[in-house]
Structures are given as structure tokens and as C-alpha cells.
């Protein structure tokens, strides 16, 4: 079959620029493949029935969305780098008599080829690997995967559709780039004399301040949920600061070095410093992008890996006993205490009939009231809570009253608490003085029992609003003070919480079955009393959800990291190739002027190393700055293991550093091949 003139021209152009197009195509294929895999896992229902499958599905859907955004941005970036590299060729064509329409046709066929290769290749790779991805994911969450490889038409269609749209946008963009330049401009694009880098103190200082502000905010955040907006602000400031600092700050630094004559006019520094200034001017933005990508990879991988590794720890914290039952009812009722005793007896009876040997039992009730806690005082009036929008979420607190006798009995203490007195315990560092006032009643704080809170409620540390436990004399009398408070729906604010936890010594599956039985029993017994909430869960029953969620996060983190790393590789590669061509001529001159090959090589090595180290060093500093916030976010998931996170971060830095070094080696080989 005869191939048309323009398609051939397009194909020839790509072949001649294979050095640039091959990595581009590989990146495109990877993006399409990963998109397909994420879509496949997130939308086709393959994860139905896996533990935590639903959460994981949502995560993968989120991942698909991130891939779309990132893919668009990245492909735009690479495409403009490609077009820039070929402007000269297009200029030549137009001087030879091609008009914009003709050039447009070449570009059209070129994009068409890229589109076909990446969508077909990406789908093929994606479909081949999707089975593997599913199996890998199943392994991570510890469940068996269904072995049949299925190819959902929906995922194929979505993948093809999304990338067709992205490539259409890219085509329009390249038409714009070539269409708006005159032929002469195109021919000259490469040769245009480059202005020497100027120190831009304003931008440099701005970058420094922006980055500092980002760090400052990140380090000051106490409650990540309530300060989510601040967190985003910090992230954006850090990103902007990185760009400004690497673009302007690095040039300023080189210029300062050049001013220092004794330093600058040395064989080892002279060439390096002056070409670094140019290099940074051209590549500051690219380095900043690499740095941001590396930071994202490090944060994503270390947090998800820590979560995955700490899943059991979180689970133990959230579900301290094999079986845990809970019931809650708003409003005051005299009969609740005896109802609690009956429930306790019935549940244990049923458990024993199931063959459980009950140990580590803790059954108790508490009265709860929430409000705005400030300065040792809980305000429970309507106003304080209706104006929520304006208040500090950190200060919304829940007071939990426990009877002294219940406390002593269940937790094995012998505390004395008189009327008007209270023992106070809280898992969060809330300043409380000698007295604590709840509503219109004040208690004298006779003792702090912060170290026992974990025993009373292990998940107190996780809950978003701080819980404050008050052990009081005759809890029901105290509760009566709060009957009068109602929320804006007219519902009572006082609530009765009932907990029952114990271990059974049963096998995991039996624990799950027991929890289901007890859950039904609870439903049955509480039916007449109109309770607001009740459930019975088993440690084992919840494991799947935890591992599924955390496994899903880690899996997503790894896939996205892979894509980000590939993008880093492409950016570095293009940087090296374009610098290689620029330096080729320069090195020829240096040799003629009398630099030995050795001297040139040394100077290049030191420059390359600096350029290589800057992004990863910055990324590590960024990681350190956001690690405290990450830690606080992980606490919301129930992970308090700081050494674990630090270890995960350390390993991630090492692994990413090694991979990054590998990429650097490969790409700098491309550079050396060009210049020598």
C-alpha cells in the first residue's frame, strides 16, 4: 500500500528524532497502562468480595482521576519539549515552501502515530499486567484473587477515550506553537543568543520567604483535619517556593561565587561555576519539577508504607479486645443502669454458649455531653455549638462522666472521690486547672489519670475532638444536671454510652461468627428502648477492612510513584540530551583553548553531580518539613508509631535515592555519548 507523503514525512521526522521520541512513547505507553489498571481495579468490580474491596475501589477511582490530571500536565510538558527540539526542522520545511496548513498536516499525522502507539501499546500492556496487578493487590490484602483475566470493555473505552482527548488537546497545542511562529523564528529558535543569567534578588528572596512560610505553616499545624486548608496552603507555598528558589536562588548563588575572585578564578571552579549559572537558568524549573515529584513520591510511599506495616497496630488500638459491643442513647433514663447490667450478662451468656472463655472483660457505662471547651470550662449552651462555623474545631470537646464505683471495679482501682470532686483524664494535651466546669457545675480536680485513658477507651487518642474523662461520685446525680440542655434540633445533649469488651480465646472465624450473633442479640434486646446506636464487632472481622484500606493506599501509592519516577526520568533525560547538544560545541572549544579532556570531564562530573543532588536534597528537606503533619494525619487512622514512620521514610529515601541514582546514570550516559 502506498503511504501518503505527509504520514511518511511525519514518520521520518520521528525516526530521525528517535532519541527524543522513544522515551516519550515509552512514557505515554506507561501512562495509558497505569490508567487502564487503575480504572480496571476501580470500576470493573473485580475487587468485590475482597476484604476492604469497597474502600480500595474508591481509592483506585481517585487514582484514575489523579492519573488523568497528571497525565495531561506531563504529556503537555514533554510535547512542548519535543516541539522545541524540532522547531528548526519545521522552519526548514516552511522555508522550503510549506505553509502552516502543510505543517499542521505533518503534526497531525505525528500525533496520530503517537496516539495509536500509546493507546494500543498502553492498553496491551495494561491488559497484560492487570491480572498481575489484581493478584498483587490481593496478596497485599491477604485474600485470594479470582484467577480469570477479564477485560472489561468499559475500562478499555474509558482509557482510550481519555487519552484520545488528551492527545487532541496536545495536537491543538502543538499547532498553536508552530502556527504562531514565523519561519525565521523557527529556524533561529535554537541559535538565538542566550542572555547571561542575571541575579534576580527579588525573586530569589521571594522564593526563600515563600519556602520558609510553607515550612513554618507545615510545622505549626496541630490538627490536620481542622487545618486542612492550612495544610494545602503550606504545600502550595512549598511548591512555589521550590520553583522560585531553584530558578532564581541558584543563579544568585552562582553569581555570588563568581564575584569571589579567589574562588572563581581556579581551574576547578572557573568553568563549572559559569556554566552552572547558565544551566540553572535553563533548568531551574525542570529541577524544581523533579524535586516536587520526588517529594510527592517520598511522602506518598513513606506514609502508605507505614500505614500498611502498622495496620495491625491500628487495629489493636481501635479494637483492643476480640469482641467489642457498644450502645448509645440520648436523653436521661433511670432504668439504663440496670439495662446495662442485663445486656452484659446476656452477651456473656451467649458468648459462653458459643464456647468462649471470657477474659479481659471491661463493661461500663458513661454519660457524655459535648460542647465548646475553653479555659477549663465546657460551654454547652446552644449558641456555642450553633456557631460552629466560627469556632475552633480543636476546642470542641466531649466530657465523659464515669461513676467512681464502676471505675474502681472495672479498672481495678481504689480511688476516693468525694462530692464536687473529680478525677480527670484525657488523651490529648488539654490544659485543665484545679477546677473544671461543665455547664453550670464545677468540679475540683483532685487527680489526673491521663495514663489510664488508654485503658478506658483506647481509641480516645484517634477521635477528632478531645475526650475528657471525669470520674465522679454518684454519676447519675451528676448527669441529671444536664437533662435541661438540648441541641438546635431540640434533641437532648446528654447521652448514655455503654461499652462491653472481652476476649474469647476462640479461633478468628468463630470470633467473627460470635460477633454476628451478639450483634443480633443486641438488636433484639434493645429493640423496645429506641437506642440511637448499637453494634457488636470483632477484632478479626474488622481486620479485612483495615488491611484492605491500607493495602489499597499503598498499592495506589506505588503505582503513582512509578509514574512519577518515570516522569522524573523523562525530564532528566530531555535535560541531559538538550544540554549534551549545547555542550558539544563548547567542549570542542575548550579543548582547542587548552583544556585537557581530563579537566573537562572533571568539571562536567562536578556540575552533573550538583544538578543531580539538588532535587533529592531539597526533596528530603521538604519531607522532613511535612513529616510532622503526615504523622498527625496518620494518627487519625490510628497509627501512633513515630519510629515506624521514620523507618518507612528512611527506607523510602534510600530506595528512591537508589532508583533516582540509576536513572541519573542512564541519562547522564546519554549526555556523555553526545558530547564525546
Amino acid at each position: 500500500m502506498k503511504i501518503g507523503f505527509y504520514p511518511r514525512l511525519a514518520a521520518d521526522g520521528m525516526r530521525k528524532n528517535a532519541r527524543l521520541y522513544v522515551p516519550y512513547l515509552i512514557a505515554c505507553v506507561m501512562m495509558v497502562a497505569v490508567y487502564y489498571i487503575l480504572h480496571f481495579l476501580g470500576h470493573s468490580g473485580v475487587m468485590d468480595g475482597m476484604p476492604g474491596g469497597n474502600t480500595a475501589e474508591t481509592l483506585m477511582q481517585l487514582g484514575t482521576f489523579v492519573m488523568t490530571l497528571f497525565g495531561t500536565l506531563f504529556l503537555f510538558y514533554t510535547q512542548s519539549a519535543l516541539i522545541k527540539g524540532r522547531k528548526k526542522e519545521f522552519g526548514l520545511y516552511s522555508i522550503l515552501g510549506m505553509n502552516r496548513f502543510n505543517l499542521g498536516r505533518i503534526l497531525f499525522f505525528e500525533t496520530l502515530i503517537v496516539w495509536v502507539v500509546s493507546v494500543a501499546g498502553g492498553l496491551a500492556a495494561g491488559i497484560t499486567l492487570s491480572g498481575l496487578a489484581k493478584a498483587g493487590f490481593a496478596k497485599m490484602v491477604g485474600s485470594a484473587a479470582r484467577s480469570a483475566v477479564l477485560v472489561p470493555a468499559g475500562s478499555v473505552a474509558w482509557t482510550a477515550g481519555t487519552f484520545s482527548f488528551i492527545f487532541l488537546l496536545i495536537l491543538l497545542n502543538s499547532l498553536r506553537q508552530v502556527g504562531f511562529s514565523s519561519p525565521i523564528e523557527l529556524v533561529r529558535a535554537e541559535k538565538a543568543g542566550e542572555k547571561p543569567p542575571k541575579s534576580n534578588w527579588f525573586v530569589g528572596i521571594l522564593g526563600f520567604l515563600t519556602l520558609g512560610a510553607g515550612y513554618f505553616i507545615a510545622l505549626r499545624i496541630k490538627q490536620p483535619m481542622s487545618a486542612l486548608l492550612w495544610f494545602f496552603a503550606a504545600v502550595i507555598l512549598i511548591i512555589i517556593g521550590t520553583y522560585l528558589l531553584l530558578v532564581a536562588g541558584s543563579v544568585i548563588f552562582c553569581r555570588l561565587l563568581q564575584k569571589n575572585k579567589r574562588y572563581y578564578y581556579r581551574t576547578n571552579h572557573f568553568v563549572s561555576v559559569s556554566s552552572m549559572a547558565f544551566r540553572m537558568k535553563r533548568n531551574g524549573a525542570g529541577l524544581a519539577s523533579i524535586c516536587i515529584l520526588l517529594t510527592m513520591i517520598l511522602v506518598m510511599l513513606s506514609s502508605t508504607a507505614a500505614l500498611y506495616a502498622g495496620a495491625d497496630e491500628c487495629l489493636d488500638l481501635r479494637y483492643p479486645n476480640e469482641i467489642g459491643a457498644f450502645a448509645c442513647k440520648y436523653g436521661y433514663d433511670e432504668g439504663l443502669e440496670s439495662l446495662g447490667e442485663k445486656l452484659d450478662a446476656d452477651l456473656k451468656q451467649a458468648a459462653m454458649e458459643h464456647g468462649a472463655a471470657i477474659t479481659n472483660n471491661a463493661t461500663f457505662y458513661e454519660w457524655s455531653i459535648s460542647g465548646y471547651f475553653d479555659d477549663g470550662r465546657l460551654d454547652v449552651t446552644l449558641n456555642s455549638l450553633t456557631d460552629m462555623a466560627f469556632i475552633d474545631y480543636d476546642k470542641v470537646a466531649q466530657i465523659l462522666f464515669i461513676d467512681r464505683d464502676v471505675y474502681n471495679r472495672v479498672f481495678g482501682c481504689s480511688e476516693e472521690v468525694g462530692p464536687g470532686e473529680a478525677l480527670v483524664g484525657t488523651a490529648k494535651k488539654i490544659p485543665i486547672g484545679d477546677t473544671i466546669t461543665v455547664g453550670d457545675v464545677s468540679f475540683r480536680v483532685t487527680k489526673r489519670i491521663d495514663d489510664r485513658v488508654d485503658e478506658i477507651d483506647p481509641s480516645a487518642r484517634i477521635s477528632a475532638s478531645p475526650g475528657i474523662f471525669l470520674i465522679v461520685d454518684d454519676v447519675n446525680e451528676v448527669a441529671k444536671h444536664y437533662i435541661k440542655y438540648a441541641d438546635f434540633n431540640g434533641e437532648p445533649m446528654l447521652a448514655w454510652f455503654w461499652h462491653c469488651r472481652f476476649d474469647t480465646g476462640l479461633a478468628p472465624q468463630q470470633q467473627e461468627a460470635l460477633a454476628r450473633t451478639l450483634d443480633e442479640l443486641l438488636d433484639e434486646e434493645l429493640e423496645p428502648y429506641d437506642f440511637d446506636n448499637r453494634y457488636c464487632e470483632s477484632h478479626e472481622g474488622e481486620r479485612g477492612d483495615f488491611v484492605g484500606t491500607f493495602g489499597g493506599l499503598l498499592f495506589l501509592g506505588m503505582l503513582l510513584s512509578l509514574i512519577f519516577l518515570a516522569s522524573c526520568a523523562i525530564i532528566m533525560y530531555y535535560k541531559q540530551v538538550s544540554e549534551g547538544f549545547e555542550d558539544q560545541a563548547r567542549f570542542g572549544i575548550m579543548q582547542k583553548v587548552g583544556m585537557t579532556k581530563e579537566e573537562i570531564r572533571r568539571s562536567v562530573d562536578s556540575q552533573m553531580l550538583t544538578v543531580f543532588l539538588i532535587p533529592i536534597l531539597f526533596a528530603c528537606v521538604h519531607l522532613l518539613a511535612v513529616l510532622p503533619v503526615v504523622m498527625k494525619l496518620l494518627m487519625l487512622f490510628g497509627l501512633f508509631d513515630i519510629p515506624l514512620l521514620l523507618t518507612a521514610a528512611g527506607i523510602c529515601v534510600l530506595v528512591c535515592g537508589a532508583v533516582y541514582a540509576g536513572i541519573y546514570r542512564l541519562t547522564s550516559n546519554a549526555y556523555y555519548r553526545i558530547v564525546s
Binding site: 542566550e194 572549544i589 579543548q591 583553548v593 587548552g594
Partner: protein
């Protein structure tokens, strides 16, 4: 003893992918005395650049020896060639070959920095050169900001600043307009009168007419030579033109 003595130089380029080897230089003998200003002329492809590159130790001859001031270039080790060139030769290129990452001043100082000279010493030499070359005000500028003539003057300054034994120039006026060419040639005349030895490849009769001796190269051998012997530039110009016409008509008068 002569400053530069090249004997029996022969250069054969072996093409990489098995093509016919090209004999760029057949047999060249050349001696240059201290303080001479020698011009080399010849058609395109006659081997001028090849000869100059061999004299500048940028390339090695297939046969023959080059002795500069008593030193045999063939005996200098490969690794030391660059240093040798830096310390003994000044090379002026047709395309200036200034580094765009350096200001003119830094470009000129580059060989001194490589030689490990002190900044103070550099400044002294730079100032001494920049004034007469008329680029004193341009030292802070970058190559792309100045004209071709100014770039070429900076390139000359870079060649002179090491106080080399000999200046080698390959079509230094090739990329210049006639005014800049004249300026550059005047400059060469000036440094030559101050005692500097110059060897210049050129296409331009006008440029060659300033030299104290003109060699004509064809097919890799020196086929003719004109000495100034006290002639004026005008007379030299005439003689060179005559010689070129004669040679172009196939005459071979050795």
C-alpha cells in the same frame, strides 16, 4: 635555529566507514623564524586547516615531524598535548569560538585560569591587552552582546594573553566584514612588529598582503612562495594576485 620547523609532513584521513582514504597533505616542509608573519593561501580543500591543526598539535601527522622551539611535538604525550598547546600556542579561529557562558573578560582569561595564574596577574595582563585591542569597555559583556569584529578581537586577546611562542590563525577574517578585517589585520601587523610570530591561513589577498611571507598550498603541497623583501603592502597585493591568477590557470612554478 628556527622557531618552528615542520619536516616531511604527510596526513592521510582514513574515513570511518571504509571509504577511500583522503590524502590531505602530501609532503610539506616549513620553517618559520622568530618574528615572522607568514600567510598560507590555497583553494578550499587544499589542506590549509589540516596543516595548521598539525602545527597546533590539534592533530597528529601521518608522517613527518614538527619541532617548536626545540621541542618535538610528536614526543609530547597525548595527555599533555592540551597543556602544551595552552602554554606555547595561541590559536585564533575563524568562528571566534568564544564560550557563550563566559563574559569576554573571562573568555580571555580562560587559558590563564587553566594555567593556575593568580587573579591579580590575570588582571594585569588583561588590562595590558584590552586597551590596545579596544575592548576595555566590553570585558563584562557576553559574546552575544557584541559585534563579530569585537568577538574576534576578544579571541585574539585570548590567544595573546598567554604570551605564546607563536600565534596560529585559521581564516581569522573569514567571518568579518571588510572594516573589521582591516582592523584585525592592522592589529596583527602591530603585534608582529612588537615581536610576535604569526602564522595565518587566509583566503583573502588583502589579508595576505600584510604578511612578510606568503605560501601557496595546492593538493597537499607547498607549490609557491612569495617573500616581502621590503615591498609595500600594495606591491605585495599585486604579486599575490598575479601568483593566484597564474596558479589558477594551471601554472606550476616552483
Amino acid at each position: 635555529m628556527s622557531l618552528l620547523e615542520a619536516k616531511g609532513i604527510k596526513k592521510i584521513y582514513k574515513t570511518r566507514n571504509g571509504g577511500v582514504p583522503v590524502e590531505a597533505l602530501k609532503h610539506v616542509d616549513l620553517t618559520v623564524e622568530k618574528g615572522e608573519f607568514v600567510a598560507i593561501m590555497g583553494e578550499s580543500g587544499s589542506g590549509k586547516t589540516t596543516l595548521l591543526n598539525i602545527l597546533a598539535a590539534l592533530d597528529r601527522p601521518t608522517e613527518g615531524t614538527v619541532v617548536l622551539d626545540g621541542m618535538d611535538l610528536g614526543a609530547v604525550k597525548n595527555a599533555a598535548v592540551a597543556r602544551f598547546r595552552r602554554d606555547n600556542l595561541g590559536y585564533v579561529f575563524q568562528e571566534f569560538n568564544l564560550l557563550d557562558t563566559f563574559s569576554l573578560g573571562d573568555n580571555i582569561c580562560l587559558p590563564l585560569v587553566l594555567a593556575g595564574k593568580k587573579p591579580k596577574e590575570m588582571k594585569k595582563r588583561l588590562d595590558a591587552l584590552a586597551q590596545p585591542l579596544g575592548i576595555a569597555d566590553l570585558l563584562k559583556k557576553y559574546p552575544f552582546e557584541v559585534s563579530g569584529g569585537q568577538k574576534q578581537r576578544a579571541a585574539v586577546a585570548r590567544a595573546l594573553i598567554t604570551q605564546p611562542r607563536i600565534i596560529l590563525a585559521d581564516e581569522p577574517t573569514g567571518a568579518l566584514d571588510s572594516r573589521s578585517s582591516d582592523e584585525l589585520l592592522a592589529l596583527f601587523g602591530q603585534v608582529n612588529r612588537a615581536g610576535q610570530t604569526i602564522l595565518m591561513v587566509t583566503h583573502s589577498t588583502r589579508a595576505a598582503s600584510r604578511a612578510s611571507r606568503v605560501l601557496f598550498l595546492r593538493d597537499g603541497t607547498v607549490i609557491h612562495q612569495i617573500r616581502r623583501d621590503g615591498r609595500t603592502d600594495q606591491e605585495m597585493y599585486q604579486r599575490i594576485s598575479d601568483a593566484l591568477t597564474l596558479l589558477a590557470n594551471g601554472g606550476d612554478r616552483k
